[in-house]
Amino acid sequence: MVDRIDEAWIARGVRRAPFSRFLLWAAPWAALLLLGAYAIFLCLRDGLFHTNMDNRYVFGLWIFLDLTVIALGAGAFFTGFLLYVLRKTELKAVINSAVVIGLVCYSGAVLILAVDVGQPLRAWFTFYHPNVHSMLTEVTFCITCYLTVLLIEYVPVFLKNRRLKWKPSMLVFEYHLHKVMVVFALIGTLLSFFHQGSLGGLFGVLRGRPFAFREGLLIWPSTFFLFVLSAMAVGPSFVALTTGLAEKITGRRLVKNEVYQTLGRISGKLLLAYVFFKCLDTLLWINQTAPERGFPAHRFYEYGGAFGTWILFAEIALLGLVPALILLKPEWRARRGLLLGAAAMACLGVTLNRFVFTIQTLALPTMPFDRLLLYWPSWQEFAAFGFVVAYGMLVYSFSYRYLTLFPQERELAMTEARR
């Protein structure tokens, strides 16, 4: 009986696990969500001493998480851009999923940011008294606006739930929103371009941190553009990866192979471009930017261990060039395992890049008599991290179960059944 509780909410013609199985799947995530909520409550009530951040590691796991999920969530804007503006119609098969991923990533990031700042009650000061020269201002404005856009983009997906669309007005609103979606796709692209970039700029402008500082164009350091490019490169990869994972977990085919191929091809091209520019940038930094600020670049890697040159190699070659090549070669790309593996590597590469800019920048000393410091997050930080992951999992799972994330699913299921 329990298994049939939510049948009326599930779209017709697709197969979903019985409700009890779904509960079983959701329960651990919900538990993680509760633990995370408790950790967040502690931080909000008592202050940030619950974290292991300190005056040197002013940013920790959370900012790393924010940067990473926002890079990975770039799939939302970029898929929308490809679909609505460049008219890559096959991507219609993943756009809803991409929107939900984007929503989850951005809302998770904003939520963690609200905990990460010391005085969340004053968050609106950034809007009311903005310092437009700060990259963080740009980030705050764009992320907030883009989150709004994502919410608006999510509305049609949401309204198409079987029970909701029974009310004619819901469907009508969905229809009209969908008709103007290209506007949101364009706005989303504009906003994403600026905040992905300014997240990179965030570190690139730090004059006092020669490890992160980069020369740039006008007010934007090179990291601005590299972050945009890397996010665009890895966004489709992440969409492919999540779709692949969803297929694995649900055991159903959700999108056609051509969609994977399109995503992989686009990701591969952009990744290659990114690796090229990243190499240029790194060479410029090693030979000019850093020495000019008084820090020969080799000093940054003297500490070895966790922060040795292997990071540079892994970031650019192992997790940049290699997946780019795999994704670009059609024969390799055609193999699902290789394609998803390369997508995962690309995602890891960008994650590592964000790690380098947040954590390694802070780990390295600037003053000659200071030393390298290491940091390990507290359980509260991990739990809050888990909160975002669990929240994402739950929102995605609920969306998958009750909304139509993959419009091709029914067709593919019928094709399968016919066989």
């Binding site: 008592d46 202050g47 940030l48 001493f49 951040m53 300190d54 005056n55 040197r56 590691y57 002013v58 940013f59 990460d116 700042v117 010391g118 005085q119 004053r122 968050a123 000061f125 950034t126 009311y128 008294h129 903005p130 310092n131 020269h133 700060s134 990259m135 963080l136 201002t137 705050t140 965030l202 570190f203 402008v205 730090l206 004059r207 006092g208 941190r209 020669p210 020495p291 600020r293 008084g294 820090f295 020969p296 000093r299 920048t361 802070l362 600037t366 003053m367 000659p368 008599f369 200071d370 410091l373």
Partner: protein, 245 residues
Amino acid sequence: MRKLGAENKTARYAMLIDLDRCNGCGACMVACAVENNVPPPQPSATPRTGLNWLRVFRLNTGGRDAFIPVMCMQCGDETPCQSVCPQKAVEFDPATGIVGQIPERCLGCRYCMAACPYQARVFNWWDPQWPAGMEQALNPRVSARQRGTVEKCNFCHGRWQAALEKAAQDGESGPVRYTPACAEACPAQAIRFGDLNDEEFAAECRDSGAFRLLESLGTGPKVFYRTSRAEVREATRGFGEVKRG
């Protein structure tokens, strides 16, 4: 914000610290904390989470211990922290040359701390707490900061304001003279406070023996150091300067 009334002359307050005289007693750190209502350490605070507007580092130079007091350098126009604050909680006061940190405005994002190469900024990880009753002994000239905000040295702004108040009473005009708590406290008179618009003081700071921390970053700090010990000079040089020198 940057406009100055015509009748005001400006000051560029600065410090000159003689490392040879500093014996690392820490009087400046304690005096600073007491003056500026910085709370005493929380039981679980560490050097990494502690609240010090002024921190004396012990240098291991092989021989006799050397010490280097580091506070906010009140960087010049290239202030790395000011431009990054998303909501103008950091500002450069053109009338005094002091970089102000306004806790009432501060969001606690700590971006400015990441931007500061001198580690001069500290964050209130805890609610500020004093042992019961000790809050009666707070300095009336300085307000206590809330948890979740960044704070740092502002060359004892409370004392500057007191000096202004007195000057207004006495009908004096122009930049005021005052002494920050650390300079007052230093038993060895290693810390000297002055105005770079004062030719004599500026000349001493420009002296060939004087240097600033991480000069190669181009931040234009207004805290100058002096030492005659070669090994101490070596240990405080930026990496780039080592290469050049």
